[in-house]
């Protein structure tokens, strides 16, 4: 590795209230950076943040106050007494910065220009909903005077009233052809990547460093996805392993209880996934997800929900097979069987023996067993994977991606359930829904890992041909 160069300094500049701080928050993944409000001029200071990869600082980003009075400033710069020799842009800006107005009327603008002069390049954030007014043109003229490469970033491009083409025209006229679309409300999946790629177009010498950042971000994405599959696998194992012995008299209450617990467990997974992707439930971004106020709108145990996702109701016979011979009742997503000694002999010796013991005791007391059936597992698997996909694409074009995954969902609808799920049926101790923390069993952990791997594998297989 070559000597550690100083980090690339980028000034985030733009008119007031166009979302400069939002862009910084997204790029730094630091939801608490700076202050954001609908009010113009929320940021009045210059604040920095550093992006590092493997402990090496690669980029320093500086959030600046908004440009507000570009028209008057332009006039002022032009009015400044002419020097003997012809001044170029940066010299003119320097002359302005040393004038008294740079500390009074144009104090904010001076901060921005000073920061841009000290930086390697500027990210010029544009509210694409705005018409290209004269003040923005003046702003751009002043900023380009600094002689630094400028990369325009179009924010709010997903709004209905966006005027992207008008902006692109104007930007092209002043020689800014590399433009990035980056909606901070619904950031596109590859938004950051494209931003850094475009940046390396204007800053050729920084290409290796920016490429490192891109690679790092992509690796992070992979890891995040895998972590997501793990969360889903954990949920499925938990639910699959769940089995409760109940007395027939308390059947309804028990069903109600189990419904409630499974719903809650699903919600737990939803929240963990949201957290993994740094979504906050009250986030504007969360609106783009298939959730309503941070939870799934359709009830898990409503047969209509299953129908909607194309899962055959009553396909839960296999689940019962693990719990005994009599599958006598289908009760809203749960299977009910007599507690019998015929358990699945998949497990290890000790567990199986213990299992038999418990079940025999149950039978003696006339208990029945309540477990979650296959259809519900399928529903959970499909729903959570949809959510994961939506989170990954951050709601953007989520519909198309879901279409793409149809063969995968088809597999979950009708195909055989994964082996770890079947195994889990025989281990009630693996479930957190049976009243106790799941046992720290390496077999359970192995099953979770196996299931997560198979989820990841299925998804990557399905994506490739598409």
């Amino acid at each position: 590795m070559s000597e550690q160069a100083a980090p690339l300094k980028l000034a985030v500049v733009g008119h007031t209230n166009v979302g400069k701080t939002s862009l910084l928050r997204t790029l730094t993944r630091d939801a608490g950076f700076g202050d954001i409000s609908h009010r113009p001029g929320t940021t009045r200071h210059v604040e920095g943040a550093r992006l590092s990869v493997d402990g090496e600082a690669l980029i320093e980003l500086y959030d600046t106050p908004g440009f507000e009075d570009a028209v008057a400033l332009y006039e002022y710069i032009e009015q400044l007494p002419q020097a003997d020799e012809r001044l170029d842009g940066p010299e003119q800006i320097q002359r302005f910065l040393s004038s008294s107005e740079a500390r009074q009327r144009f104090e904010q603008e001076a901060k921005v220009l000073r920061q841009l002069l000290q930086s390697d390049a500027g990210l010029y954030v544009i509210d694409a909903r705005e018409p290209v007014l004269a003040k923005y043109r003046d702003e751009l003229s002043i900023l380009t005077m600094c002689g630094k490469p400028i990369l325009p970033v179009l924010n709010f491009v997903n709004a209905a009233e966006q005027r992207e083409s008008a902006w692109r025209d104007v930007l092209a006229r002043i020689g800014l052809h590399a433009v990035v679309r980056f909606d901070t409300v619904v950031p596109p999946q590859d938004g950051e990547q494209r931003l850094y790629e475009n940046l390396s177009l204007v800053l050729e010498s920084q290409r290796p460093r920016l490429q490192r950042l891109i690679d790092y971000n992509q690796a992070q994405m992979q890891i995040r996805r895998k972590a997501g599959y793990r969360l889903i696998a954990e949920l499925l194992i938990d639910v699959s392993a769940c089995r409760r012995g109940i007395h027939p008299d308390q059947l309804n209450a028990a069903i109600e209880n189990l419904h409630h617990d499974v719903r809650q467990r699903e919600q737990q997974c939803v929240e963990a996934l949201l957290k993994l992707y740094a979504f906050r439930q009250d986030d504007a971004k969360a609106n783009a997800l298939p959730l309503a106020e941070g939870r799934w709108g359709d009830d898990l145990f409503n047969p209509a929900t299953m129908k909607q996702l194309g899962i055959k109701v009553g396909g839960g016979m296999a689940a019962g097979a693990a719990t005994g011979f009599g599958i006598d009742l289908f009760t809203g997503g749960l299977s009910l069987g007599m507690a019998t000694a015929i358990g699945a002999a998949v497990g290890g010796l000790t567990q199986t023996v213990r299992n038999y013991g418990e079940r025999l005791k149950g039978k003696w007391r006339g208990e029945r067993e309540l477990s979650v059936n296959d259809s519900t597992l399928r529903l959970l698997a499909i729903r959570q994977q949809r959510l994961l996909n939506a989170l990954e694409s951050r709601g953007h074009a989520a519909q198309e991606r879901i279409q793409m995954h149809t063969p995968l969902e088809q597999h979950w609808r009708e195909g055989e359930l994964a082996q770890p799920l079947k195994t889990a049926r025989a281990y009630p101790a693996w479930s957190s829904l049976n009243g106790a923390k799941p046992s720290l069993d390496h077999k359970r952990i192995h099953a979770v890992e196996q299931l997560a791997d198979s989820l990841a594998e299925q998804n990557s297989n399905m994506q490739e041909p598409a």
Binding site: H38, G41, H45, R50, S52, G55, K135, K443
Partner: protein, 455 residues
């Protein structure tokens, strides 16, 4: 950095901490993370620093020491049990009438169970991904009991998960299993030698349905490998004679004893030794390659804590204590009523239908238009100036300055916030700013005022 701890122990402790956090929620780790962040190392190193720190703080390190002591003790107990089993094995093999020991029963007693267990292990190696045996369970259980430390209970799952993830579990447990059998069989061998050396045994074979020819062949083919090591092989005559009765002849006894020892060595000890060596090799190789795989999603939760992708640099340039504001004032006299739009885009049809006597001054946007309009108003101050703004635009100081400057050229000024479908927040921002300027504003056009003034 990892003080004298082996990589296995370090990773083990990290895994134990992680499993604990997975079960009971994240630990308070600000100090640990600070330590990890100050390590200028890779992510894996940082994660290890964090894990070790938490393990030390929460007593897992001492628990590990206790557990290792327990495990050592359990290992000695296993070795003892292996020795005892070996002796018992040899004794039972040669029990019964010493003058007529059934050679095949003795052989089956010596290596039968061992062979079954070995075959099971080999089948597991080929077909199953799981790898555990009752013996390894017993050892783990015993180690836990002997550790006498409640925290040690968290360690075993962590070890198993860790080894499984690195595909070492099979070899680790295999080492244990084969080692136990190796000791048992060696003990059996020495007991056998001792018994054969100090007592007189006669060997026979018996069968109701097997012909003596096939028996001869069986003994020969089984015994051939042992002859390479110098063990004796009974010739067919001897075998056939032994089928009738136990031979009194000393040489016959020695040959049979030698054959039996050879069998034990070849079919009992040798395969176990090979398996032991295989496991030992894989185990050592695995251990030397053991390192924390930071790309595993299980560590994702901690990554940003020990190696933040972004950090704040703080405020570089502080906010000004006050911003220069604009001041409005008015002219004393002027003529005409003027309507002026500022920064209106082409989506708004302009001008609206105007009452009579109201002059439309158009829309100003650019610098030149501004200057021209201000010049014009300074020369001919309007009596009433209505400035139309689009509240959909974000209000900024530049626009406010312009409005203030325009107001200074007119006798009376009002602002008309056009009823475009702007969001309420922006509208209230405008109202707030105009209040600060002490300018009257309305969301509907004040035509009456513009035409006739306040009266």
């Amino acid at each position: 950095m990892t003080d004298s701890r082996s990589p296995l122990q370090t990773l083990w402790l990290c895994e134990a901490v992680r499993l604990r956090e997975e079960q009971t929620g994240l630990l308070e780790d600000s100090e640990a993370c600070r330590k990890a962040r100050s390590t200028q190392g890779s992510l894996a190193q940082r994660l290890q620093v964090r894990g070790l720190f938490l393990a030390k703080r929460d007593g897992l390190v001492t628990a590990l020491e206790h557990w290792l002591q327990g495990a050592k003790l359990a290992l000695w107990m296993l070795i003892l049990s292996a020795l005892v089993s070996g002796v018992i094995l040899a004794k039972t093999a040669l029990s019964g009438d010493p003058q007529a020991i059934n050679i095949f029963w003795a052989l089956a007693g010596l290596i039968g169970l061992n062979l079954l267990s070995l075959i099971a292990w080999c089948l597991g190696l080929i077909f199953s991904k799981q790898s555990s045996s009752p013996l390894s369970h017993a050892w783990l259980w015993l180690s836990n009991k002997l550790a006498r430390d409640a925290k040690a209970a968290q360690l075993v799952p962590a070890l198993l998960v860790l080894l499984q993830r690195h595909q070492l579990l099979r070899w680790g447990l295999g080492r244990l299993l084969h080692g136990w059998w190796l000791i048992t069989l060696c003990a059996a061998l020495f007991t056998l030698i001792a018994l054969l050396a100090t007592r007189r045994y006669g060997f026979v074979w018996e069968s109701t349905i097997v012909a003596s020819d096939s028996f001869v062949m069986l003994v020969n083919s089984l015994g051939t490998p042992a002859t390479w090591l110098g063990f004796a092989l009974p010739d067919s005559e001897l075998i056939q004679q032994s089928g009738m009765q136990a031979l009194k002849d000393e040489q016959a006894r020695q040959i049979w004893a030698s054959w039996l020892l050879g069998m034990l060595l070849i079919y009992g000890i040798a395969p176990r030794l090979m398996c032991s060596l295989l496991c030992e090799w894989r185990w050592r190789r695995g251990l030397s390659r053991l390192q924390l795989n930071a790309a595993d999603p299980v560590w994702q939760v901690f990554e940003q804590r020990v190696q933040p992708g972004s950090e704040r640099l703080g405020i570089i340039d502080v906010a000004p204590s006050s911003l220069s504001g604009s001041v409005t004032s008015s002219q004393l006299s002027g003529h005409a009523a003027v309507l002026l739009g500022i920064e209106l885009d082409d989506s708004i049809s302009w001008p609206p239908e105007l009452p009579a006597h109201v002059v439309n001054a158009g829309i100003i946007d650019t610098r030149e238009q501004r200057r021209q309009m201000l010049d014009q108003f300074t020369a001919n101050p309007p009596a009433r100036l209505l400035i139309a703004c689009d509240p959909q635009r974000s209000v900024d100081r530049g626009t406010l300055n312009l409005i203030a400057e325009l107001s200074r050229t007119a006798v009376q000024t009002r602002v008309w916030l056009l009823p475009t479908n702007s969001d309420a927040e922006r509208l209230s921002d405008w109202q707030e700013q105009l209040d600060k300027l002490k300018l009257a504003y309305s969301c509907s056009a004040p035509w009456a005022w513009l035409e006739h003034g306040d009266e």
